[in-house]
Amino acid sequence: MRRWIWFLIVVLLGVGVGLLYGWLVNPVKYVDTTPAKLRSDYQADYILMVAEAYRAEGDLDLAARRLAVLGDSPPAEIVRQAMILAAQIPYADSDQELLSQLASALQTWSPSAGGAQP
């Protein structure tokens, strides 16, 4: 009986060591993820890129398509979340202004029939 108790103890000890190694020391490295899984600050930077390009191109459909890779939320909501993060980090005023301009434009945007390149 005592042997079984010791056996269970070392099994549990081994499980603990295995979890420690598998979660902390050598966790699973993810590859081939999608933009929606990016860390929030990377997502915010991507959205800033969209805003920068939008200012020069003025193509709202294109901007919305570029934002669509970040998830199913409405584009305006995606930009709004980025604005919140941009204010926390904080981004430069000019960059926050770019995000604000894009968000404002997207407020009244609705998907058009015309295609735009991604």
Binding site: V11, G14, Y21, P35, K37, Y91
Partner: protein, 302 residues
């Protein structure tokens, strides 16, 4: 009778525990699938991210920021990745502007400044401002700058610098022989065109297996001009491509693969001089072997 089994059962239990722990940690409940970095993106999304960086660069002219963003993708050779994607995009033919942006960014990285941008020029004195990009929070991006964009137009009042008497293309290929090809061509000059055809050479080079239209765009001082759009038309077709997408052959270089039997017209975008009647012609080695020659067109902007 007492059975002596020692303490091996403890080691066995420990190993079983480790295996169970690893199975749980790696397979059943691996670490959260969130908060990944751009380097872990699927190749297609990486390409989209890269294209977005290029589009933002073309829009702002902010090269340090573009470099910092590209670093997040973890490409071994950033310029090559950009160039290859530009060529792929160009080959697909759907998004020429995206290809141009990628090419311009590759060229700008090669030159170390944003002068590759043909129409967007940052104002001379950027204003230092606070950190802007998310990536900067991890000290990966330099301080952002505010850049005012101006649209430039060619200064027609300046006196063109004298053109070199002999063009020396940056293409590393050697013209083995120049020959008079079968078609005779008379270039038509379009008045007021920004580019002028400087030379037009039929190239016989056994190292070029396919008939190419090779274009080199230069400024008045002979410096290569990347990002220049070239329009090639033929009966029932048209194609657009840009200089600088093969930087290893020169920043002002571009080429187009001809189809035998088709007659092409080539011009630089923006109403430039049109070169008509470009068609594949054959060359012949000393041994009598025939192969396709190429056309080398050098355009200069006065």
């Amino acid at each position: 009778m007492r059975e002596e089994r020692g303490h091996w059962y403890l080691l066995t239990g420990f190993v079983i525990g480790i295996v169970l722990g690893l199975v749980y940690a790696w397979l059943i409940s691996p670490q959260q699938y969130q908060d990944t970095s751009p380097a872990s993106l699927l190749p297609e999304f990486k390409a989209q991210y890269r294209a977005m960086i290029a589009a933002a660069f073309v829009a702002t002219g902010n090269l340090p920021r573009a470099e910092a963003r590209l670093a997040l993708l973890g490409d071994g050779n950033v310029e090559r990745a950009l160039t290859e994607q530009a060529q792929r995009t160009l080959g697909e033919g759907n998004y020429p502007l995206e290809a141009q942006a990628l090419g311009l960014l590759a060229v700008a990285l090669g030159q170390g400044d944003a002068s590759a941008l043909p129409t967007l020029v940052p104002s001379a004195t950027p204003t230092e401002s606070q950190s802007s990009s998310a990536s900067q929070s991890a000290n990966t991006e330099p301080t952002s700058t505010e850049i005012t964009l101006e649209v430039t137009t060619p200064d027609v009042s300046t006196t063109p610098a004298p053109l070199p008497t002999e063009q020396t293309p940056q293409v590393t290929r050697t013209i083995l022989s120049t020959a008079t090809p079968l078609p005779t061509r008379t270039p038509t000059v379009t008045p007021g065109s920004p580019f002028v055809l400087e030379s037009n050479t039929f190239v016989c080079d056994t190292n070029l297996p396919n008939p190419l239209i090779q274009v080199i765009a230069e400024d008045s001082s002979g410096e290569p001009l990347p990002g220049q759009e070239i329009i090639t038309t033929w009966e029932g077709g048209e194609d657009y491509y840009f200089t600088g997408l093969k930087p290893e052959l020169g920043l002002g270089y571009a080429d187009f693969l001809m189809t035998p039997g088709v007659v092409y017209q080539v011009r630089m975008a923006g109403g430039g001089q049109t070169v008509p009647d470009i068609t594949p012609a054959e060359c012949e080695t000393q041994g009598g072997r025939r192969y396709w020659g190429s056309w080398l067109l050098v355009f200069s902007r006065p």
